[in-house]
Each structure stands twice: as structure tokens, then as C-alpha cells.
Symmetry: D2
């Protein structure tokens, strides 16, 4: 039983998911919905699917599951609509920028007994999965301190930043999810600092471009997250975990493995620069996991609750950066 | 104009090429020919193509190109047959184990004005392409000394070794091609040594499992090749080039980027163990290059002559290892 | 003009400095003072110097400089005594555990016009010096975010922890100094978290064994420090600096450069495990720099003020970890 | 019982050994002999020893051992002279450029029951010792294939090359010794190729600057050696050993551990450029081993026979490179 997909939204992330769905034998892409005709046509041409309206998809018998890649402010509505329509729902992070709205949407999902998976792609990256497997194997003992370094090659445009909810809700949210995943215990306290160092325009929009966060759990495990909107040398994505018996870390991926040694030293290529190149396998793996869960009737590996928890950490970080006080989660 | 393919032979390497052809937008897989029904069916099921007889494919109007993945002793006959049938031909290395037979086949290809590409996949690996690009950029100056390390995870079965033509014609042949590619000048002298170190059964078949070769060009550039049929730590594939201004090398690919540090030290995963995993991109890239050449009427990046030259180096190596003398090429 | 030294205190760090002084052509070790006879004798035997009382050294005409390696609670008194005695003074960190006492001692030093250098050895490590030189060269542009990872192989004995002033004053103090050095700007805000994860006995003494700190400067530059009292894999000492044009980091030093690759992967030796091995060159370099300053009448590269500033950051960290509030420095 | 040394010859390598002797607690430098007054004075000033004539040293009661650092053509005579004089003798490689002359000198040493150690410093480098220890531990099983890469930063002056005996006797000789050490079995066959690629002047002197060698033992173990007189990126010194259970290699040493990542990629410092910096520890360790052997009356770890064997391999390589034939050792 192949799972039949529709993609809602054919922007950059919609293209990513269309490719991911098409690369999985157990999935097939049936339709795409997108107001911008050219983008819809590109997916239709590349992967051979229909173009349909969103409402049409909700009532299409030949669609089992949808991937929500529309703007953030539509996510919660669409989750509810398609949960009610009996479709399995994969939604890009975040579910919404407001915690109460997320909770409401999740209530609907629960009431409908619907399947909802939230797109935290990093959990599905082969290197980070190998890191998690190393931790789970017990090799490094009990997890004590996690260090996450995450730097984008460059800031998104001002138009995006305006509606992004700010760096903590837009960028750090991935790291909050990773922190929960690697710590294996819920975070109880958040301390955060934010600065504007790469571009004053970001500050004028009320946002930061450079932040550090310390998370603490009830048993005292800690996690630091360091983010910057600018890394000239590529998309810097590292995770390190110190345990009672040792340390494990996943290293960055360079464009290639060539080293050139000349008079002034040794040179290697920069890191893979674009999230779509860096996380190609992760996007395919997360859709494959979603398909597995649908086919086997098992829980999805990332859930609406994961989306909510990450958002709550983001809100706490915003408050801590503004007040200079540690924020305790309920 | 999509190029329409048939795969001849559905063994391990046939499966590799079926996947490669299917992954390229500009190519489509139309048919497979294979006497072993199950293997043919697997390709049909996975990629949705017909199963046909070889003779049928030769006269199929809906086939533009064939990929020859049958046993080595059929390669030359099939090249001739399909060159005459007006199909573009991609043939796995080697063209034949006999130099005169290769020359005869190439004469037919030339007489028919046919397109022939020989499968030297390493030239299409992204890391080795980056190495070649670094050399071509002039960064390391004039090439002087090349070092190629190539070790298989394990020896093939005795049944394969018997018909392989020996390690130089079967395994080192890839390195001979790489040597010519990186040296940028034809080899004039070959010195070789062979030993049986990993399995006496290989020696009983009259073959070696461990060899070293020194190649020299007219201008004195040199290349060493070191091969073993056994590397417990994975598929070891390295190339290094010393030039007048510096050195460039392509490093191995591990299964993942995780490092685990515990009391007795730091640990990383072994190398990718299987040629199909290590060279997934290379196989896709070489078929893409073949498709490009067909579509644009340009020469293929690797030719029948490349196949011939590599085989001549292999023959010279056999002779040198037996006689203990440097063998000079005509 | 060789600088003639006396070492005050012949414990572990006294032995380190005796070796450092003896390895420098421009310095000579004249005397050691130490109540524990065996330790004094060991230095006398190894380096061929006298054993004298502290008071005797203060009036010795053949001593130009002293290195204070006695217990922390004697540092301030000895600094004052030897500043008044007209000797150049090198004092191991910290000057004292109390900020007012430090200030008083520095006042005496200033009043006497004495030379005082505080031992922040990391600034003199060749790798960290190369990191600083890379920053100063402008290669990575303006410094924005600093990340310091510092983990000890194991916790000191309880008896030491009791009088250490706590992890922030004893261990993190090195990182506070490094942060100031690399940021190139004074820190204005300190946020800290502390946990007891490696040994409950440390918690019973009122101390932490695992801490994270975020420092911020007036212009918004940030630095995170992550410390643990336990790293099974060796003495983990890393510094990373993100700038407007790139990133620079100094990597750890393994026991040797050998890699062993077997069926389960690649293995390297653990890190140098002991501060005396890891920082052999740093200790020699810092004494050489002290000698230079004495001979040329130039300021010492690390000063009493550096000692004070680092201690103030430690105090702020203690307060922040206790109150959960960012602490602003005057 | 401290061993009392005299250094014969105060050139570059004499300075190295003077430093090594002075750094070892169990050794003391008593005298230096050198016709060039300034060089002798430098050693006297730095290490506080006498300047004496060679003949005087041979009869000095306060000298137990000599280190021969004079020009190659005096080595054999001095070995014989000091063996007869009852001194322990450490001689820099090679013993002589002529095999018969070496044999004669070794006969004298044997007749006198003298202690002779030949300076193959690489065996005493901490990283290469760790490599040998890894092999001896059995981790990689039985040794099968050894790969030695050895490239000098730049060629010596023509005046030196003229009297050096050629690249195989002067430079590769170190690798021949290492090959024997790592293979653990005597070499029976030598194949070699030589080219002039870096400087035609070297060819005019009848020498090569770029060579490759294949060594084979009776049981079929093989070793390749690749040498060049020019490596712009530093002093390239690598050893790799493939065994039945895995592979071990010692990596190069960079000037420092700093990595700088900017827009065009990651950059590291070149390799340590000078043999005196690269092998500081090796020189100290080999003199320490010599002292140990003298004090304990045990055999030296490298002997006159090692010097002879390496020279025989060099002669075989010269012949093979000239004739194009494998040379079998007696």
C-alpha cells in the first residue's frame, strides 16, 4: 500500500518535500496546491503530479497524506482542516508562533485521532542519527552536557524576518528540539542572551542575529546552544554530548574530501552551504518515517507535542534575553 | 529528448546501472535483458521497464543506448553487435581480457561511427573530480608524483577470480585509468610486484592478492599504485598528487562523521564498505555524462581507447611481476 | 644579565615552574623555599639550587625575581612582601579569593612600582598563541562569538575543593581570562548555571562540577564557557572564535598522531591527560615572557589587573548561578 | 653513573646532538671537537663544555662515549679509532658509502667488543614508536604492506649532493631502515625508479630528486617508498602499515592545531618544516637509548648491522633504477 501524498505550498521547502516524497518507493506524489502557478508547474513537470486547490485535496479520495509547506500563519488552520478530513498530516515547523493556538490545534488533532508529524529534520540526518545511536548504545554513559552549534550561512531577507517570530522561534527552535532529543529529559530552566552583530537592520526589526542559550533539566543536565545568522564558511551544524563515560560529537560536512597543501598550508573546501544540500538525506528519511508510521499505525517519531515543547522553550528564551533572568518552565 | 536505455545483464553491476539510469531526468529505462528471470524481474518491478531478449533490444526502435553489464567474455561481441545496430554503447570495464580482441572491437566501433563509453566510474566520483579540478586549477603546479591506494574490503569468490583475468586486469585496471587521468601523460614504463598474503587459494588460482606498481612517463613523472584484496576497515580509496607547487589528495569516506571519545581514545566509524555505496554518485554521474555526450553529439569523457590503454598497462604489469623487469610500452 | 629566580613553594606547580625557569637560557634558578623538606630537596637535586627560608629570600641579593607557588591564602601577603623587597613577582592564579584583598595587594604593588605577573598560562600555549595571531591578523574580521570548552580529566581531591573557592574561582577563572583576551573587550554581563553531575561529594561541599557561562560585552559580543570536572578521554582544551569574516579554532592535542583502522572503525589515542604535559611549552613561554619584561623594563603581558578582572567575573558567575539572574559588572 | 660525552663535528647535526645530550639527565657533555672555531665556540658557550682535538678526546679519561657528526668520509675511520680507544660510539648514518668499507669497520668494532649505535633517528620519534607499538600489540595482525612517504622541504645544496652518494644512499636510506623495522623481515628484492623533476642541476650531478621503490621479503610482504626532494608544504613524513586485521598509520605534524575557516574554505598551517623541529624528541630519545645501553651493558637498539643492511638496500636501488631490473639481495 503506497501512501499517496499532496504537497501544500510549492515554495523552497515544498520543492524539498516533493523531491523527498518522490524518492521513496513506498510513497507517491499525487497533487500539489500552490497559488503561484509557475512554482506549482515546476513540481508538476518534475514529478508528474496534478495541480489542485487545497479544498479539492481535502476531499480527494486518492490522497492519504498531506505535507504542509505553506506560510507559518496558515499551519494551524490547515492541520485542523486535514485532520478533520481524515488525512495524515506532516507539518513543517513551527505549528504556529502562538503557544495557545498550537495547543488548540493539537486538541483538534487528538479529538480526530489524526496522525500528525512535525518536521524536525535534524533528527533524521544520518550523522545525527549515528550520534544518537552512539548515546543510546551506552558508550558515553549518562548524558550530562550537550553543546549545539548552529550557524546559518547568511540571514534571510528582512521580509522573512518580520514574520518569522524572531530568531528563537525561527532558527533556535530546531536546536531546542535537538536539545530535548539528546538530553533525554525535559528542560526546566532557560537562560538566554541575544545580540545584533551581523546586520543592524535585524536589530531594527526587533530581532537578534547572535544568541546563546543555556538549558537545564530537573536533574541538572545542561545544554548550550550557540547560533549566528552568518557563517561565511558554510552551514555550520554541530552537536556534542558529554557523558559520564566519554564524549560523542557529529562533525560538519565539507563540500568534498580534498585537501590541497601548498606553501602557506593545508586547505579544504568550505562546508556544504545550503540546508537543502546538507539535509537531503534527512528530508527523505523524515518522510520515510512518516510513511512507516502511517503504514504500521505506529506513532510518528516527532509529534505535535514536540512542536509545542520547542515553541515553549523559544518563548522562554525570548523572555530570558529580554529580562536577564532564568525562566522556569511550568 | 530523453535517452532511452536498455540494460544488458541484471547482476550486481546491472542493478547499479539501472538505479543510475533511473535517477537521471534526461534518461529513461525501457528494457532489461537477463537470462536469470528473478534478477530481471527485480529490475522490472523496481524501475518499471520491460524484460526483453538481447536480440530484440538490438532491433528495438524505442532503445537509443545500451549499458553492457554481462560477463566480461561477452563484452566485445555485444559492443560490436550494438555498434552495428546503431545504439550508443556504454560498456563496463574491461572491454575484453585480450588486447587484440579489444583492438578489433574498437575498429568496428570506429567503422560504424558509433558512440562507445567505457565505465571507469572513479573519474566521476565528486571527490576525485574535485581533486582533478584542483590539479587543473594549477594550484599544485606541474604534476610530478601520483600515489594511488586502492584496497577492497574482501576478495571476490574463487569462481570470479578464475575468469577475472587476474588482479591487474580486474582490480588495478581502475587505478591504471586513474593514473593516466591524473598524470596527464602516457605511461612508458611499468614495474610491478605481486604477492599472495591474504588467502593461499588465490595463489593456487595463479593470481596475486597484494600488488604494488610503479608507472613512469616519458618526462619522468611517476605513479605508485598499491592494491590489496583485503581491508578490514572498509573500501579504501585514496589518491594523492605531488606537484611542483604542492600536494593534493582526496581522503576516504567514513560511514558517518561521529567521533566517540572514551577512556581509551577517539573512535570513528569504518569506511563505507561497499563499492555501490561508495560510488553511488559516481555511477549516476557517469551515466549522466554518457547521456550528455549522446544528446550533444560530443565525445564521451572515457572512451574505448581508455579501455585499451588501461588493459595494456595491466598486461605490462603482469609481465613485470613475472619477470622482475621493467616493461616498456610501445 | 641573567634573571636570578627563587621558587616559593615546591608542590606540583612549583615543580612545573622550576623546570620552566631551568629551561630558559636567560634565567637561572638560585633558590627554593618549601617547608616540606623532601619536595625542596627534589628541586635542589634536579636543578642544583639552594634551599632557603622565605624571609631569607626576601633579603637575598642574588635573587631578582620570585615565583609564588604557595597555597592561595598566602599569595596576597607574599606579593606585598616581595614587592616591598624589590623583587619582580610572578604569582600563580588566583591572587586571592577575595576581591577587596586583591585590590589591596595591587595597590601595594603599584605604590612600590613593582613588577607583577599573574600566571594565566593558556595565553602562552603555542596553539592558542597561533589562534590569537590568526584573530589579530584580521583573517576572521571582527570578533563576535567566542566558545571555550575546558574539561579536566578528573576532579581534584575534596581537601583541595574545600579551599579552592569553588569551580568558578578555581577552574573557570582560566577561561574568564581567555575570554577577555580573545574578546578584546571587557565583559559587562555574566549569566551562569551550575550542576553537580560527576560526584555528589562535590555538591556536599557546596560546589558544582559542571557549569556553563554566557559573557556579554558592551557592544554585544558574547562568549560561552563550558566546564566539567570530568573528561574520561583526556584534558579537553578548546577555543573557537567566530568573526565577521570567518571562524578560527584551536584543536586538542592527542597523545600521538597514530590512527589504527580495524573492523569496527578508526581509533586514535586519547588527549594528553595531564596539565603539565599539555602546557609544558606554555609554562616555559610564560616565564620567558616574564624574564623579557624584567630585562627590558616593559609591562608584563599578564598583570595583576588581569587577575582582578578574572576574579570579578568568577564572583559574578557565582552570584548568577545562585540567583538565576544576569549579573552586571560595574 | 652519568655517561660523559664528546661530540665530534659541530655542524648542523652536531648542534642537534649537543642539544640532545644536554637535555638528558643521565648524560653530560664534556667536550666538542671541530676545526671550525666559531661552531665549536657556539657549543661551548651554549652547553658549557671544553673544546678539544679529536686525538685528545680518544685518550681523554673523562669521556665515555662519542657522537660522530663529521663528514661521511671520516665516519668509518673514526668508528675504528674510538672503538679501539674503548669509547662507546654513536655514529650518524651512513657508516660509509661503500659496503666493503662498512663491513671492515664493523669487523673492527666486533673485534674490540665495542658498543656502536647508528643514528636512525626515526625509530625514536614518539609517533613512529607509537605506530610500532600498535603493530607489536597485534591489533592489525600480521604485517603485509608498508607504505612510506618521505619528502624533504627542499633539496640540499649541489656541494652536498656531490658527496652524498646519491638520493638512495643519503635520503632513502632512512626509509630503508624504517622498512626493515616495520616489515619485521629482511628484504630480498628491490625495484626502483628515479627521475629528475624538481631541478635539472640535480640530474647534471648524476642524481635523482624523485624516486619510488618497491621492497619485497621472502614471505611476500611488500613495502613502497616514495621520496621527493621538494615538498612546498613542509617536511612530509608518513608511515602506513596494512596488516591482516587492519591498518595503522602515523600522520604528519603541523606547525600548530589552528584551523581558520573563511569564505573559500578551511585552512591549517603547513607541516613542521625543518628536520630539527620535527625530530627534536627523536634525537633526544635516541641518545637516551644509547645511554641506557651503555649503562646496562645491553645491545643498542640500532646497530652497525642496521647501517650495513640499509646501505645494501640503497645499492640495490641504485642498480635497479639504472638497469630496470629487480635486484635480489644475497
Amino acid at each position: 500500500m503506497t501512501v499517496r501524498f499532496a504537497i501544500l505550498g510549492a515554495g523552497r521547502i515544498g520543492q524539498v518535500h516533493a523531491r523527498a516524497v518522490s524518492s521513496i518507493p513506498a510513497a507517491t506524489l499525487v497533487a500539489v496546491a500552490e497559488p503561484f502557478a509557475e512554482a506549482a508547474q515546476r513540481i508538476k513537470d518534475t514529478y508528474g503530479c496534478d495541480i489542485r486547490e487545497i479544498d479539492e485535496i481535502a476531499t480527494s479520495d486518492d490522497v492519504d497524506a498531506v505535507v504542509i509547506c505553506t506560510p507559518t500563519d496558515t499551519h494551524a488552520d490547515l492541520i485542523e482542516k486535514f485532520a478533520k478530513a481524515g488525512k495524515a498530516v506532516f507539518c513543517e515547523k513551527p505549528v504556529d508562533l502562538s503557544v495557545p493556538r498550537v495547543k488548540e490545534a493539537l486538541k483538534t488533532v487528538e479529538a480526530e485521532g489524526a496522525t500528525l508529524m512535525v518536521g524536525f529534520n535534524r533528527r533524521f540526518d544520518p550523522d545525527f542519527m549515528a550520534l544518537k545511536a552512539a548515546i543510546d548504545s551506552g558508550k558515553i554513559g549518562d548524558v550530562e552536557m550537550v553543546t549545539i552549534t548552529s550557524r546559518d550561512p547568511g540571514a534571510p531577507p528582512a521580509s522573512y524576518i518580520k514574520v518569522s517570530g524572531g530568531i528563537f522561534r525561527d532558527m533556535t527552535i530546531h536546536d531546542f528540539d535537538v536539545a530535548r532529543w539528546l538530553l533525554g529529559e525535559e528542560v526546566t530552566t532557560v537562560m538566554a542572551q541575544g545580540s545584533v552583530l551581523t546586520d543592524p537592520a535585524i536589530g531594527e526589526l526587533g530581532d537578534y542575529d547572535s544568541v546563546n542559550v543555556i538549558l537545564t533539566t530537573a536533574s541538572g543536565k545542561q545544554c548550550t546552544i550557540t547560533n549566528s545568522r552568518r557563517a561565511t564558511y558554510g552551514y555550520d551544524q554541530r552537536m556534542e554530548v558529554l557523558g559520564s563515560l566519554g564524549m560523542a560529537h557529529a562533525q560538519n560536512t565539507h563540500e568534498n574530501t580534498v585537501e590541497v597543501a601548498v606553501e602557506d598550508g593545508y586547505h579544504k573546501a568550505p562546508l556544504l552551504n545550503f540546508f537543502m544540500d546538507r539535509y537531503t538525506m534527512a528530508y527523505a528519511n523524515e518522510i520515510a518515517a512518516f510513511v512507516d508510521a502511517i503504514q504500521n499505525g505506529t506513532p510518528t517519531p516527532t509529534t505535535g507535542l514536540d512542536g509545542l515543547k520547542a515553541l515553549e522553550l523559544a518563548e522562554a528564551a525570548v523572555e530570558s534575553a529580554q529580562t536577564g533572568k532564568a525562566v522556569t518552565l511550568p
